[in-house]
Protein backbone atom coordinates (compact mmCIF):
# COMPACT_ATOMS: atom_id res chain seq x y z
CA UNK A 1 0.00 0.00 0.00
CA UNK A 2 1.83 3.12 -1.16
CA UNK A 3 -1.03 5.58 -0.54
CA UNK A 4 -3.79 5.31 2.05
CA UNK A 5 -7.27 6.69 1.54
CA UNK A 6 -8.82 8.89 4.22
CA UNK A 7 -10.87 5.94 5.43
CA UNK A 8 -7.83 3.69 5.61
CA UNK A 9 -6.01 6.40 7.55
CA UNK A 10 -8.81 6.66 10.09
CA UNK A 11 -8.88 2.89 10.41
CA UNK A 12 -5.12 2.82 10.94
CA UNK A 13 -5.45 5.28 13.83
CA UNK A 14 -8.04 3.04 15.48
CA UNK A 15 -5.42 0.29 15.64
CA UNK A 16 -3.08 2.45 17.73
CA UNK A 17 -3.03 2.06 21.47
CA UNK A 18 -2.23 5.63 22.49
CA UNK A 19 -2.19 6.91 26.06
CA UNK A 20 -4.08 10.17 25.59
CA UNK A 21 -5.37 12.39 28.38
CA UNK A 22 -7.96 15.15 27.97
CA UNK A 23 -9.69 17.04 30.78
CA UNK A 24 -7.98 14.79 33.33
CA UNK A 25 -9.18 11.49 31.91
CA UNK A 26 -7.58 8.86 29.73
CA UNK A 27 -9.43 8.53 26.44
CA UNK A 28 -10.65 5.10 25.44
CA UNK A 29 -11.56 6.25 21.95
CA UNK A 30 -9.32 8.99 20.59
CA UNK A 31 -10.54 9.00 16.98
CA UNK A 32 -14.19 9.66 17.81
CA UNK A 33 -13.60 12.12 20.63
CA UNK A 34 -15.51 15.26 19.55
CA UNK A 35 -12.75 17.60 20.75
CA UNK A 36 -10.04 15.77 18.79
CA UNK A 37 -12.06 14.50 15.82
CA UNK A 38 -11.90 17.75 13.75
CA UNK A 39 -8.10 17.60 13.85
CA UNK A 40 -8.21 14.00 12.63
CA UNK A 41 -10.49 15.16 9.81
CA UNK A 42 -7.89 17.74 8.75
CA UNK A 43 -5.10 15.16 8.54
CA UNK A 44 -7.46 12.75 6.78
CA UNK A 45 -7.94 15.45 4.14
CA UNK A 46 -4.24 15.14 3.22
CA UNK A 47 -5.01 11.52 2.32
CA UNK A 48 -8.31 12.27 0.61
CA UNK A 49 -7.00 14.96 -1.74
CA UNK A 50 -4.08 12.79 -2.83
CA UNK A 51 -6.60 10.47 -4.47
CA UNK A 52 -8.47 13.20 -6.34
CA UNK A 53 -7.28 13.80 -9.93
CA UNK A 54 -7.76 17.54 -9.57
CA UNK A 55 -5.24 17.71 -6.72
CA UNK A 56 -2.85 14.81 -7.28
CA UNK A 57 -0.29 16.89 -9.20
CA UNK A 58 0.42 18.73 -5.96
CA UNK A 59 -0.53 16.12 -3.40
CA UNK A 60 1.56 13.24 -4.75
CA UNK A 61 5.16 12.69 -5.78
CA UNK A 62 7.38 9.90 -7.06
CA UNK A 63 9.54 8.26 -4.43
CA UNK A 64 13.26 8.58 -5.16
CA UNK A 65 13.72 5.33 -3.25
CA UNK A 66 11.12 3.02 -4.81
CA UNK A 67 9.91 4.95 -7.88
CA UNK A 68 6.35 4.56 -6.62
CA UNK A 69 3.67 7.20 -6.44
CA UNK A 70 3.50 8.45 -2.86
CA UNK A 71 1.77 11.11 -0.80
CA UNK A 72 3.90 14.25 -0.98
CA UNK A 73 3.96 14.43 2.81
CA UNK A 74 6.30 11.42 2.84
CA UNK A 75 8.50 12.67 -0.01
CA UNK A 76 12.15 13.74 0.05
CA UNK A 77 12.41 16.82 -2.19
CA UNK A 78 14.34 15.97 -5.36
CA UNK A 79 14.31 19.31 -7.18
CA UNK A 80 13.11 22.90 -7.04
CA UNK A 81 9.71 21.90 -8.40
CA UNK A 82 9.19 19.67 -5.38
CA UNK A 83 9.92 22.60 -3.08
CA UNK A 84 7.51 24.85 -4.96
CA UNK A 85 4.81 22.21 -4.94
CA UNK A 86 5.25 21.85 -1.20
CA UNK A 87 4.45 25.56 -0.75
CA UNK A 88 1.46 25.25 -3.05
CA UNK A 89 0.27 22.18 -1.17
CA UNK A 90 0.32 24.21 2.05
CA UNK A 91 -1.86 26.90 0.53
CA UNK A 92 -4.23 24.32 -0.98
CA UNK A 93 -4.74 22.46 2.29
CA UNK A 94 -4.98 25.60 4.39
CA UNK A 95 -7.72 26.83 2.10
CA UNK A 96 -9.56 23.52 2.00
CA UNK A 97 -9.57 23.05 5.78
CA UNK A 98 -9.30 26.57 7.23
CA UNK A 99 -6.94 25.27 9.89
CA UNK A 100 -3.58 23.70 10.62
CA UNK A 101 -3.14 20.52 8.54
CA UNK A 102 -0.60 19.09 11.02
CA UNK A 103 1.24 16.78 8.65
CA UNK A 104 3.90 19.22 7.39
CA UNK A 105 6.12 18.89 10.44
CA UNK A 106 6.78 15.21 9.74
CA UNK A 107 7.66 15.95 6.12
CA UNK A 108 10.06 18.68 7.25
CA UNK A 109 11.69 16.34 9.76
CA UNK A 110 12.18 13.60 7.16
CA UNK A 111 13.80 16.04 4.76
CA UNK A 112 16.05 17.62 7.39
CA UNK A 113 17.24 14.23 8.60
CA UNK A 114 17.86 13.07 5.02
CA UNK A 115 20.45 15.87 4.78
CA UNK A 116 21.98 15.70 8.24
CA UNK A 117 22.33 11.91 8.52
CA UNK A 118 24.30 12.03 5.25
CA UNK A 119 26.55 14.76 6.60
CA UNK A 120 27.18 12.97 9.92
CA UNK A 121 28.19 9.83 8.02
CA UNK A 122 30.56 11.86 5.82
CA UNK A 123 32.38 13.15 8.90
CA UNK A 124 32.29 10.14 11.22
CA UNK A 125 31.89 7.13 8.91
CA UNK A 126 28.65 6.16 10.63
CA UNK A 127 25.71 4.52 8.83
CA UNK A 128 22.84 6.73 9.82
CA UNK A 129 21.87 7.68 6.27
CA UNK A 130 21.34 4.13 5.01
CA UNK A 131 19.38 3.37 8.17
CA UNK A 132 17.35 6.52 7.73
CA UNK A 133 16.50 5.82 4.08
CA UNK A 134 15.17 2.41 5.13
CA UNK A 135 12.97 4.20 7.63
CA UNK A 136 11.78 6.69 5.00
CA UNK A 137 10.88 3.78 2.73
CA UNK A 138 8.84 2.28 5.57
CA UNK A 139 7.04 5.60 6.06
CA UNK A 140 6.38 5.97 2.33
CA UNK A 141 5.23 2.39 1.79
CA UNK A 142 2.76 2.66 4.65
CA UNK A 143 1.86 6.32 3.98
CA UNK A 144 2.37 7.25 7.62
CA UNK A 145 1.77 10.54 9.35
CA UNK A 146 4.81 11.56 11.37
CA UNK A 147 5.01 14.04 14.20
CA UNK A 148 8.32 15.87 14.04
CA UNK A 149 9.03 16.54 17.69
CA UNK A 150 11.60 19.25 18.32
CA UNK A 151 10.49 21.62 21.10
CA UNK A 152 11.64 20.54 24.57
CA UNK A 153 10.07 22.16 27.65
CA UNK A 154 13.55 23.77 28.14
CA UNK A 155 13.24 24.52 31.88
CA UNK A 156 15.45 27.48 32.82
CA UNK A 157 16.07 29.19 29.47
CA UNK A 158 19.35 30.61 30.77
CA UNK A 159 20.89 27.19 31.26
CA UNK A 160 22.12 24.60 28.74
CA UNK A 161 20.61 21.09 28.90
CA UNK A 162 23.36 19.54 31.03
CA UNK A 163 23.07 22.29 33.70
CA UNK A 164 19.28 22.09 34.15
CA UNK A 165 18.28 21.28 37.77
CA UNK A 166 15.84 18.78 36.28
CA UNK A 167 17.72 16.86 33.55
CA UNK A 168 14.46 15.82 31.90
CA UNK A 169 13.73 19.34 30.67
CA UNK A 170 15.46 18.23 27.46
CA UNK A 171 15.01 14.75 25.98
CA UNK A 172 18.10 12.70 26.75
CA UNK A 173 19.57 9.23 26.81
CA UNK A 174 19.27 7.55 30.20
CA UNK A 175 20.51 4.10 29.26
CA UNK A 176 22.47 2.51 26.45
CA UNK A 177 21.80 -1.15 25.72
CA UNK A 178 23.07 -3.62 23.17
CA UNK A 179 19.79 -3.47 21.27
CA UNK A 180 19.05 0.25 21.63
CA UNK A 181 18.71 3.20 23.97
CA UNK A 182 16.29 4.35 26.64
CA UNK A 183 15.25 8.01 26.51
CA UNK A 184 13.41 10.34 28.86
CA UNK A 185 11.98 13.86 28.64
CA UNK A 186 9.10 15.55 26.87
CA UNK A 187 8.21 17.50 23.76
CA UNK A 188 5.82 20.44 24.10
CA UNK A 189 3.29 21.95 21.67
CA UNK A 190 3.22 18.85 19.46
CA UNK A 191 0.80 19.65 16.68
CA UNK A 192 -1.24 16.70 15.49
CA UNK A 193 0.60 14.30 17.79
CA UNK A 194 -2.30 11.93 18.46
CA UNK A 195 -3.13 11.82 14.75
CA UNK A 196 0.34 10.49 14.02
CA UNK A 197 1.63 6.96 13.48
CA UNK A 198 5.21 7.94 14.25
CA UNK A 199 6.97 10.41 16.54
CA UNK A 200 10.37 11.54 15.24
CA UNK A 201 12.38 13.26 17.94
CA UNK A 202 15.08 15.86 17.30
CA UNK A 203 17.11 18.08 19.64
CA UNK A 204 15.87 21.62 19.99
CA UNK A 205 18.88 23.91 20.56
CA UNK A 206 22.59 24.11 19.78
CA UNK A 207 24.66 21.90 22.05
CA UNK A 208 28.18 21.57 23.40
CA UNK A 209 30.15 18.46 24.26
CA UNK A 210 28.74 18.47 27.80
CA UNK A 211 25.27 18.14 26.28
CA UNK A 212 26.10 15.06 24.21
CA UNK A 213 23.54 12.85 26.02
CA UNK A 214 20.90 15.26 24.73
CA UNK A 215 22.13 15.18 21.13
CA UNK A 216 19.83 12.39 19.96
CA UNK A 217 17.38 11.92 17.15
CA UNK A 218 15.18 8.88 16.75
CA UNK A 219 11.79 7.61 15.64
CA UNK A 220 9.16 5.81 17.68
CA UNK A 221 5.80 4.27 16.86
CA UNK A 222 3.36 6.74 18.40
CA UNK A 223 1.98 4.05 20.69
CA UNK A 224 5.35 2.87 21.99
CA UNK A 225 5.33 1.99 25.68
CA UNK A 226 6.03 4.98 27.89
CA UNK A 227 4.64 7.71 25.60
CA UNK A 228 1.89 9.79 27.19
CA UNK A 229 -0.08 12.54 25.42
CA UNK A 230 -1.80 15.38 27.26
CA UNK A 231 -4.04 17.37 24.91
CA UNK A 232 -3.79 21.17 25.01
CA UNK A 233 -6.85 23.33 25.57
CA UNK A 234 -8.06 25.70 22.90
CA UNK A 235 -10.28 28.73 23.26
CA UNK A 236 -13.93 27.65 22.80
CA UNK A 237 -12.95 23.94 22.58
CA UNK A 238 -16.01 22.75 24.50
CA UNK A 239 -18.31 24.14 21.82
CA UNK A 240 -17.45 20.90 20.02
CA UNK A 241 -19.26 19.06 22.79
CA UNK A 242 -22.46 21.04 22.25
CA UNK A 243 -25.40 20.12 20.09
CA UNK A 244 -25.35 21.57 16.57
CA UNK A 245 -22.44 22.85 14.53
CA UNK A 246 -23.15 26.56 14.00
CA UNK A 247 -21.24 27.79 17.04
CA UNK A 248 -18.14 25.82 16.07
CA UNK A 249 -17.60 28.12 13.10
CA UNK A 250 -15.69 25.48 11.17
CA UNK A 251 -18.05 22.51 11.01
CA UNK A 252 -15.55 19.82 10.14
CA UNK A 253 -11.91 20.74 10.62
CA UNK A 254 -9.58 21.85 13.39
CA UNK A 255 -6.18 21.24 14.94
CA UNK A 256 -4.70 20.12 18.22
CA UNK A 257 -1.50 20.27 20.20
CA UNK A 258 -0.27 18.01 22.95
CA UNK A 259 2.44 17.68 25.54
CA UNK A 260 4.20 14.42 24.65
CA UNK A 261 5.91 12.77 27.59
CA UNK A 262 8.62 10.18 26.96
CA UNK A 263 8.76 8.25 30.20
CA UNK A 264 11.77 5.92 29.84
CA UNK A 265 10.99 4.85 26.29
CA UNK A 266 13.07 2.19 24.55
CA UNK A 267 14.36 2.97 21.04
CA UNK A 268 15.96 0.16 18.98
CA UNK A 269 19.19 1.12 17.20
CA UNK A 270 17.65 0.89 13.72
CA UNK A 271 15.48 3.87 14.66
CA UNK A 272 18.29 6.07 15.99
CA UNK A 273 19.47 8.71 13.51
CA UNK A 274 21.80 10.79 15.67
CA UNK A 275 23.57 9.62 18.79
CA UNK A 276 25.66 12.13 20.71
CA UNK A 277 27.03 13.90 17.58
CA UNK A 278 26.43 17.23 19.33
CA UNK A 279 28.32 19.12 16.62
CA UNK A 280 25.50 18.37 14.14
CA UNK A 281 22.64 19.55 16.33
CA UNK A 282 22.77 23.17 15.13
CA UNK A 283 22.73 22.03 11.53
CA UNK A 284 19.73 19.79 12.12
CA UNK A 285 17.83 22.51 13.97
CA UNK A 286 18.55 25.14 11.32
CA UNK A 287 17.69 22.96 8.33
CA UNK A 288 14.51 21.69 9.95
CA UNK A 289 13.55 25.22 10.97
CA UNK A 290 14.04 26.54 7.43
CA UNK A 291 11.83 23.82 5.97
CA UNK A 292 9.24 24.33 8.66
CA UNK A 293 9.24 28.09 8.23
CA UNK A 294 8.49 27.49 4.55
CA UNK A 295 5.60 25.27 5.68
CA UNK A 296 3.79 28.32 6.97
CA UNK A 297 2.56 28.57 3.39
CA UNK A 298 -0.55 26.97 4.87
CA UNK A 299 -1.42 30.30 6.50
CA UNK A 300 -1.87 31.76 3.03
CA UNK A 301 -4.60 29.18 2.42
CA UNK A 302 -6.17 29.89 5.80
CA UNK A 303 -5.93 33.59 4.91
CA UNK A 304 -7.80 32.84 1.68
CA UNK A 305 -10.66 31.48 3.79
CA UNK A 306 -10.62 34.47 6.13
CA UNK A 307 -10.65 36.94 3.22
CA UNK A 308 -13.50 35.01 1.63
CA UNK A 309 -15.40 35.03 4.91
CA UNK A 310 -14.86 38.78 5.36
CA UNK A 311 -16.12 39.45 1.82
CA UNK A 312 -19.20 37.25 2.37
CA UNK A 313 -19.90 38.98 5.69
CA UNK A 314 -19.69 42.36 3.97
CA UNK A 315 -22.10 41.20 1.27
CA UNK A 316 -24.52 39.75 3.83
CA UNK A 317 -24.38 43.03 5.75
CA UNK A 318 -25.01 44.94 2.52
CA UNK A 319 -21.83 47.01 2.78
CA UNK A 320 -19.67 45.42 0.11
CA UNK A 321 -19.80 48.51 -2.11
CA UNK A 322 -18.57 50.88 0.60
CA UNK A 323 -15.16 52.18 -0.45
CA UNK A 324 -13.52 51.58 2.93
CA UNK A 325 -14.70 47.96 2.90
CA UNK A 326 -13.31 47.42 -0.58
CA UNK A 327 -10.05 48.97 0.53
CA UNK A 328 -9.83 46.70 3.56
CA UNK A 329 -10.41 43.65 1.40
CA UNK A 330 -7.66 44.83 -0.95
CA UNK A 331 -5.34 45.27 2.04
CA UNK A 332 -6.13 41.74 3.24
CA UNK A 333 -5.34 40.34 -0.19
CA UNK A 334 -2.16 42.37 -0.39
CA UNK A 335 -0.94 40.95 2.92
CA UNK A 336 -1.93 37.42 2.07
CA UNK A 337 -0.34 37.39 -1.39
CA UNK A 338 2.81 38.93 0.11
CA UNK A 339 2.99 35.89 2.36
CA UNK A 340 2.56 33.71 -0.71
CA UNK A 341 5.49 35.48 -2.39
CA UNK A 342 7.75 34.50 0.50
CA UNK A 343 6.93 30.81 0.52
CA UNK A 344 7.26 30.55 -3.26
CA UNK A 345 10.51 32.55 -3.25
CA UNK A 346 12.28 30.45 -0.63
CA UNK A 347 11.34 27.33 -2.60
CA UNK A 348 12.30 28.75 -6.00
CA UNK A 349 15.69 29.82 -4.63
CA UNK A 350 16.36 26.42 -3.08
CA UNK A 351 19.47 24.32 -3.66
CA UNK A 352 20.77 20.76 -3.73
CA UNK A 353 22.50 19.41 -0.63
CA UNK A 354 25.26 16.75 -0.84
CA UNK A 355 22.71 14.06 0.08
CA UNK A 356 20.73 14.94 -3.06
CA UNK A 357 17.87 16.44 -1.08
CA UNK A 358 16.78 19.94 -2.09
CA UNK A 359 16.69 22.52 0.68
CA UNK A 360 14.92 25.87 0.73
CA UNK A 361 16.73 29.20 0.79
CA UNK A 362 17.24 29.74 4.51
CA UNK A 363 17.18 33.55 4.45
CA UNK A 364 13.96 33.73 2.44
CA UNK A 365 12.28 31.00 4.49
CA UNK A 366 13.00 33.01 7.63
CA UNK A 367 11.76 36.22 6.04
CA UNK A 368 8.58 34.41 5.00
CA UNK A 369 7.95 33.04 8.49
CA UNK A 370 8.75 36.41 10.04
CA UNK A 371 6.01 37.95 7.89
CA UNK A 372 3.71 35.15 9.08
CA UNK A 373 4.33 36.22 12.69
CA UNK A 374 2.69 39.56 11.81
CA UNK A 375 0.37 39.59 8.81
CA UNK A 376 -2.28 37.12 10.03
CA UNK A 377 -2.90 39.43 13.01
CA UNK A 378 -3.61 42.37 10.70
CA UNK A 379 -5.74 40.11 8.50
CA UNK A 380 -7.68 39.02 11.59
CA UNK A 381 -8.12 42.62 12.72
CA UNK A 382 -9.45 43.65 9.33
CA UNK A 383 -11.79 40.64 9.19
CA UNK A 384 -13.21 41.57 12.60
CA UNK A 385 -13.53 45.19 11.51
CA UNK A 386 -15.54 44.15 8.45
CA UNK A 387 -17.58 41.52 10.30
CA UNK A 388 -18.88 43.89 12.97
CA UNK A 389 -19.49 43.37 16.66
CA UNK A 390 -22.22 40.78 16.25
CA UNK A 391 -19.46 38.25 15.73
CA UNK A 392 -18.83 38.29 19.48
CA UNK A 393 -22.23 39.28 20.86
CA UNK A 394 -24.61 36.91 19.12
CA UNK A 395 -26.34 34.32 21.29
CA UNK A 396 -25.85 30.61 20.90
CA UNK A 397 -27.21 28.23 18.28
CA UNK A 398 -29.40 26.78 21.01
CA UNK A 399 -31.08 30.18 21.38
CA UNK A 400 -31.42 30.44 17.62
CA UNK A 401 -33.21 27.08 17.56
CA UNK A 402 -35.32 27.93 20.64
CA UNK A 403 -39.07 28.12 19.99
CA UNK A 404 -39.28 30.99 22.47
CA UNK A 405 -36.48 33.37 21.43
CA UNK A 406 -35.28 32.02 18.09
CA UNK A 407 -37.80 34.18 16.25
CA UNK A 408 -36.27 37.33 17.76
CA UNK A 409 -32.79 36.35 16.58
CA UNK A 410 -34.23 35.54 13.16
CA UNK A 411 -35.91 38.96 13.03
CA UNK A 412 -33.25 41.21 14.53
CA UNK A 413 -30.15 39.58 13.05
CA UNK A 414 -31.55 39.71 9.54
CA UNK A 415 -29.52 42.02 7.32
CA UNK A 416 -29.59 41.67 3.53
CA UNK A 417 -33.17 40.67 2.66
CA UNK A 418 -32.19 37.83 0.32
CA UNK A 419 -29.81 36.16 2.77
CA UNK A 420 -31.13 33.75 5.41
CA UNK A 421 -30.26 34.97 8.90
CA UNK A 422 -28.64 31.64 9.68
CA UNK A 423 -26.13 32.10 6.84
CA UNK A 424 -25.12 35.44 8.30
CA UNK A 425 -24.62 33.90 11.72
CA UNK A 426 -22.61 31.03 10.22
CA UNK A 427 -20.13 33.25 8.39
CA UNK A 428 -19.63 35.40 11.51
CA UNK A 429 -18.99 32.28 13.60
CA UNK A 430 -16.37 31.18 11.08
CA UNK A 431 -14.56 34.51 11.46
CA UNK A 432 -14.84 34.19 15.22
CA UNK A 433 -13.45 30.65 15.05
CA UNK A 434 -10.45 31.74 13.01
CA UNK A 435 -9.62 34.92 14.93
CA UNK A 436 -10.70 34.12 18.50
CA UNK A 437 -11.71 30.47 18.72
CA UNK A 438 -10.10 27.08 18.25
CA UNK A 439 -8.62 27.91 14.83
CA UNK A 440 -6.96 31.06 16.18
CA UNK A 441 -4.50 28.75 17.93
CA UNK A 442 -3.17 27.78 14.53
CA UNK A 443 -3.75 31.00 12.61
CA UNK A 444 -2.52 33.49 15.18
CA UNK A 445 -0.45 32.28 18.15
CA UNK A 446 1.06 29.37 16.24
CA UNK A 447 1.92 31.86 13.51
CA UNK A 448 4.04 33.71 16.08
CA UNK A 449 5.70 30.83 17.88
CA UNK A 450 5.40 27.80 15.62
CA UNK A 451 8.66 26.85 13.85
CA UNK A 452 10.42 29.27 16.17
CA UNK A 453 9.41 32.58 17.71
CA UNK A 454 10.04 35.88 15.84
CA UNK A 455 13.42 36.46 17.46
CA UNK A 456 14.69 33.15 16.09
CA UNK A 457 13.94 34.36 12.58
CA UNK A 458 15.61 37.71 13.20
CA UNK A 459 18.77 35.94 14.32
CA UNK A 460 18.76 33.83 11.16
CA UNK A 461 18.07 36.88 8.97
CA UNK A 462 21.03 38.71 10.52
CA UNK A 463 23.25 35.68 9.98
CA UNK A 464 22.24 34.99 6.41
CA UNK A 465 21.88 38.41 4.87
CA UNK A 466 24.68 39.47 2.49
CA UNK A 467 25.71 42.64 4.33
CA UNK A 468 29.17 42.98 2.76
CA UNK A 469 27.67 43.19 -0.71
CA UNK A 470 25.23 45.86 0.43
CA UNK A 471 28.05 47.92 1.96
CA UNK A 472 30.19 47.55 -1.15
CA UNK A 473 27.34 48.74 -3.37
CA UNK A 474 26.66 51.76 -1.17
CA UNK A 475 30.32 52.79 -0.98
CA UNK A 476 30.82 52.45 -4.71
CA UNK A 477 27.84 54.64 -5.54
CA UNK A 478 28.93 57.53 -3.32
CA UNK A 479 32.54 57.44 -4.32
CA UNK A 480 34.17 55.88 -1.24
CA UNK A 481 37.44 54.36 -2.38
CA UNK A 482 38.76 51.03 -1.13
CA UNK A 483 39.47 51.20 2.58
CA UNK A 484 42.17 49.28 4.41
CA UNK A 485 40.80 46.04 5.87
Amino acid sequence: MAMMTAKQYEKSLRRLNLQVYLFGERLENVVDNPVIRPSMNAVAWTYELAHRPEYEDIMTATSHITGKKINRFTHIHQDIKDLVKKSKMGRLLGRETGCCLQRCVGMDTLNALSIVTFNIDAKYGTEYHTRFLKYVEYVQENDLTCDGAMTDPKGDRGLPPHKQPDPDQFVHVVEEREDGIVVRGAKAHQTGAVNSHEIIVMPTISMREEDRDYAVSFALPSDAEGIVYIIGRQSCDTRKLEEGTLDRGNEKFGGHEALVVLDNVFVPWDRVFMYKEYDFVTQLVEIFAAYHRQSYACKVGVGDVLIGAAQVAAEYNGVERASHIKDKIVEMNHLNETLYCGCIACASEGHREPSGTYAVNTLLANVHKHNVTRFPFELARLAQDIAGGLMVTMPSEKDFRSPEVGKWMEKYYKASSNVPTENRLRILRLIENMTLGTAAVGYLTESIHGAGSPQAQRIMISRRVNMEEKKRAAKRLCGIADEPA
Partner: protein, 103 residues
Protein backbone atom coordinates in the same frame (compact mmCIF):
# COMPACT_ATOMS: atom_id res chain seq x y z
CA UNK B 1 -8.09 4.35 -37.79
CA UNK B 2 -11.85 4.49 -37.49
CA UNK B 3 -12.88 8.06 -38.32
CA UNK B 4 -16.15 7.61 -36.42
CA UNK B 5 -14.81 6.47 -33.14
CA UNK B 6 -14.86 8.91 -30.25
CA UNK B 7 -11.80 10.96 -29.46
CA UNK B 8 -10.12 9.72 -26.28
CA UNK B 9 -9.20 12.79 -24.26
CA UNK B 10 -6.95 12.15 -21.28
CA UNK B 11 -7.53 14.74 -18.59
CA UNK B 12 -4.64 15.96 -16.49
CA UNK B 13 -5.35 18.57 -13.84
CA UNK B 14 -2.83 20.95 -12.30
CA UNK B 15 -2.63 20.65 -8.51
CA UNK B 16 -5.27 23.31 -7.86
CA UNK B 17 -3.31 25.42 -5.35
CA UNK B 18 -5.35 28.55 -6.11
CA UNK B 19 -7.61 27.97 -9.12
CA UNK B 20 -9.49 30.91 -10.62
CA UNK B 21 -12.44 28.73 -11.67
CA UNK B 22 -13.94 25.29 -10.97
CA UNK B 23 -11.77 23.02 -13.10
CA UNK B 24 -13.78 19.87 -12.43
CA UNK B 25 -17.05 21.61 -13.32
CA UNK B 26 -15.54 22.85 -16.58
CA UNK B 27 -14.43 19.35 -17.57
CA UNK B 28 -17.84 17.94 -16.68
CA UNK B 29 -19.49 20.56 -18.87
CA UNK B 30 -17.11 19.83 -21.74
CA UNK B 31 -17.79 16.13 -21.35
CA UNK B 32 -21.54 16.72 -21.54
CA UNK B 33 -21.31 18.95 -24.59
CA UNK B 34 -18.98 16.60 -26.43
CA UNK B 35 -20.66 13.38 -25.41
CA UNK B 36 -21.06 12.24 -29.02
CA UNK B 37 -17.59 13.23 -30.15
CA UNK B 38 -15.24 12.45 -27.28
CA UNK B 39 -14.76 10.53 -24.08
CA UNK B 40 -12.95 12.09 -21.18
CA UNK B 41 -10.69 9.69 -19.32
CA UNK B 42 -7.64 9.87 -17.08
CA UNK B 43 -4.43 10.88 -18.82
CA UNK B 44 -2.93 7.68 -17.40
CA UNK B 45 -5.17 5.40 -19.41
CA UNK B 46 -4.04 3.67 -22.59
CA UNK B 47 -4.68 4.82 -26.17
CA UNK B 48 -5.24 8.44 -25.33
CA UNK B 49 -5.49 10.61 -28.46
CA UNK B 50 -4.91 13.88 -26.72
CA UNK B 51 -4.02 15.05 -23.22
CA UNK B 52 -6.13 17.95 -22.03
CA UNK B 53 -4.19 19.80 -19.32
CA UNK B 54 -6.62 21.72 -17.14
CA UNK B 55 -4.83 24.45 -15.21
CA UNK B 56 -6.43 26.68 -12.60
CA UNK B 57 -4.48 29.76 -13.65
CA UNK B 58 -2.23 31.13 -16.37
CA UNK B 59 0.90 29.85 -14.63
CA UNK B 60 0.22 26.44 -16.18
CA UNK B 61 2.65 24.69 -13.85
CA UNK B 62 2.03 21.16 -15.16
CA UNK B 63 5.07 19.59 -16.79
CA UNK B 64 3.72 18.73 -20.26
CA UNK B 65 7.00 17.33 -21.58
CA UNK B 66 6.22 13.93 -20.11
CA UNK B 67 3.30 13.26 -22.46
CA UNK B 68 3.90 11.34 -25.65
CA UNK B 69 0.65 12.38 -27.35
CA UNK B 70 -0.52 15.86 -28.39
CA UNK B 71 -1.29 18.18 -25.49
CA UNK B 72 -3.84 20.97 -25.27
CA UNK B 73 -3.79 23.30 -22.27
CA UNK B 74 -6.73 25.28 -20.93
CA UNK B 75 -6.39 27.72 -18.07
CA UNK B 76 -9.79 29.43 -18.00
CA UNK B 77 -13.44 28.81 -18.82
CA UNK B 78 -13.23 30.70 -22.17
CA UNK B 79 -10.21 28.51 -23.04
CA UNK B 80 -12.34 25.46 -22.42
CA UNK B 81 -15.23 26.84 -24.46
CA UNK B 82 -12.96 27.53 -27.42
CA UNK B 83 -11.61 24.01 -27.22
CA UNK B 84 -15.12 22.60 -27.23
CA UNK B 85 -16.19 24.75 -30.19
CA UNK B 86 -13.27 23.51 -32.24
CA UNK B 87 -13.94 19.91 -31.40
CA UNK B 88 -17.60 20.27 -32.33
CA UNK B 89 -16.55 21.64 -35.71
CA UNK B 90 -13.83 19.27 -36.64
CA UNK B 91 -12.96 16.59 -34.17
CA UNK B 92 -11.78 13.21 -35.18
CA UNK B 93 -8.69 11.40 -33.98
CA UNK B 94 -6.92 12.35 -37.24
CA UNK B 95 -7.47 16.05 -36.74
CA UNK B 96 -6.08 16.14 -33.26
CA UNK B 97 -2.58 17.05 -34.32
CA UNK B 98 -3.85 19.89 -36.47
CA UNK B 99 -6.09 21.05 -33.65
CA UNK B 100 -3.24 21.20 -31.20
CA UNK B 101 -1.09 23.07 -33.69
CA UNK B 102 -3.78 25.69 -34.03
CA UNK B 103 -4.20 26.13 -30.27
Amino acid sequence: MNRHRKLRIGVKYCGGCNPSYDRVALVKRMEKTLVKKAEFISFQEENVDLVLVVCGCETGCVDTRVFEVPVHLVSSIPDGDRFVERLIREASPETVRLLVKMA
